[in-house]
């Protein structure tokens, strides 16, 4: 067994030993229940609007994304207006679609393992730049994240390659709104797969996340891989000890037959 595995196991063991702390005192529970008895439960419609949506195993289990739909509709309308503006400004219309499009292919299922690895851009990571935004004391703190090399072992050779992840954070303070952007990617000789994620904290909009949707590039242009991760697994053979936190994953690759959005 090597140091890397030993260290992770040691950390896991230490966390495990912190379980089973003291039971709450009667006074603590009594205090909580007294407060709860004075706090009225919100009606369902209000609770669903107020509580940020939460997904669990790809299902919405808390709240509703409805509030975010409003924002999405607004953005779509803005895009529609922009497109209209561009046409009015005399831009040439997009080329006519070809007479005959290739027939969509059935989805190809795959399974695999994804492990987290060492940092590849340590100089960049942790560079913090603070920018004053006007005279009101509002600041933007730009925290450059790093890039990490990951390792994948996939059943579909198109998804086999060098995997990477990156991570950046912008914080607007006050009121402490955090915008997080990150990517996961797989690169090989033929092309690449890139998944982009955006999320926010401290805003009513909550998280805006595309999930693990990998867009194909190069030879894979026109393909989309939908991926979901599952239970932790042991590091497979062929992946070296510098990679930790391995998880199984599964998904499908489809060709780019997703319907274009309708803009009335």
């Amino acid at each position: 067994m090597n140091d890397s595995n030993d260290f992770e196991r040691f950390v896991a063991d230490q966390f495990a030993r912190e379980r089973g702390g003291p039971a709450p005192s009667d006074e603590t529970i009594h205090d909580l229940l007294t407060k709860a008895s004075h706090a009225r439960q919100r009606p369902r419609w209000l609770a669903i609007l107020k509580e940020p949506p939460m997904r669990h195993a790809s299902r919405v289990v808390v709240g509703s994304p409805t509030a975010r739909v409003s924002a999405f509709v607004a953005v779509t309308l803005l895009l529609a207006l922009s497109a209209t503006g561009a046409i009015v400004a005399g831009q040439s219309p997009s080329p006519a679609p070809p007479d005959k499009e290739p027939a969509p292919q059935p989805p190809a299922e795959f399974t695999g393992v994804w492990c987290i690895g060492p940092e590849v851009a340590p100089d960049r990571n942790g560079t913090i730049t603070t920018i004053e935004l006007g005279d009101d004391g509002l600041t933007l703190t730009r925290n450059q994240g790093g890039a990490w090399r990951n390792a994948v072992s996939m059943s579909d050779p198109r998804l086999q390659g060098d995997a990477y992840q990156t991570y950046e954070t912008d914080t607007y303070d006050p009121p402490s709104i955090e915008v997080i952007s990150s990517t996961l990617s797989i690169v090989n000789e033929e092309g690449a797969w890139v998944s982009r994620h955006y999320s926010s904290r401290g805003t009513p909009a909550g998280s805006t996340d595309t999930g693990n949707v990998f867009i194909g590039q190069g030879a894979y242009e026109g393909l989309i891989a939908f991926m979901s991760t599952g239970a932790p697994v042991l590091r497979p053979e062929g992946i070296t000890a510098e990679y930790v936190g391995c998880e199984e994953l599964q998904g499908i690759i489809i060709d780019d037959a997703v319907a274009e959005p309708f803009l009335p």
Partner: protein, 187 residues
């Protein structure tokens, strides 16, 4: 059993909620304690999380997601307590931190290992701690940690890796710090 209690609590049954709160309190307290590294702050965070759960319980569509949702509320409450604490610290003058005791540099004991974990957690930011605690303390996969924290999978994985790396680096580069008994299985 728990599912039925959640359904009853959703209907305003305080007794059912009381049973749910008692069952979860110790676990949530452990999580908050490790994230905040502050006993009083942790108790406040758990109280707030459970009160939020009671107030917004009708937003919970799937009673089986009760635990996951409680974890989210607890972490959120921890972030709130941590933010308040940061603001307070800005305006307060702190004394000299207590030096690491001789006991904690005794790397051969389990106590030293535990002190080592707590000291290393103190060095991490609260977001990194949250990921490590949910993944290793509650034994949740990174994908579920990401869902609970409402962050992308990649972000959760990054924080986990950075946290582990920071701990490992600290162990390698701090000759005076306790060296945990890596590789030694606990008794």
């Amino acid at each position: 059993m728990q599912r039925a209690l959640v359904e009853r609590a959703k209907d305003g049954d305080l007794e059912a909620f009381s049973q749910l709160a008692k069952a979860a309190f110790r676990r949530l307290d452990g999580v908050a304690n490790l994230i905040l590294r502050d006993r009083d702050g942790a108790q406040d965070a758990v109280q707030e999380a459970l009160l939020m759960a009671w107030r917004d319980l009708r937003a919970l569509r799937d009673p089986d997601a009760w635990d996951a949702w409680l974890h989210r509320l607890t972490v959120r409450a921890c972030y709130k307590v941590a933010r308040k604490e940061r603001r307070r610290i800005r305006f307060e003058v702190h004394g000299i931190p207590e030096p690491v005791s001789a006991r904690t540099v005794d790397a051969s004991t389990d106590v030293a290992d535990r002190d080592w974990l707590r000291r290393e957690l103190d060095r991490l930011d609260v977001e990194q701690r949250a990921v490590l605690v949910l993944h290793y303390h509650l034994d949740l996969p990174v994908s579920e940690v990401a869902e609970i924290l409402d962050i992308p999978y990649g972000t959760a994985a990054s924080r986990l890796h950075r946290g582990l790396e920071a701990m490992r680096t600290s162990m390698r580069t701090s000759p005076g710090a306790a060296s945990p008994s890596v590789g030694k299985r606990p008794a």
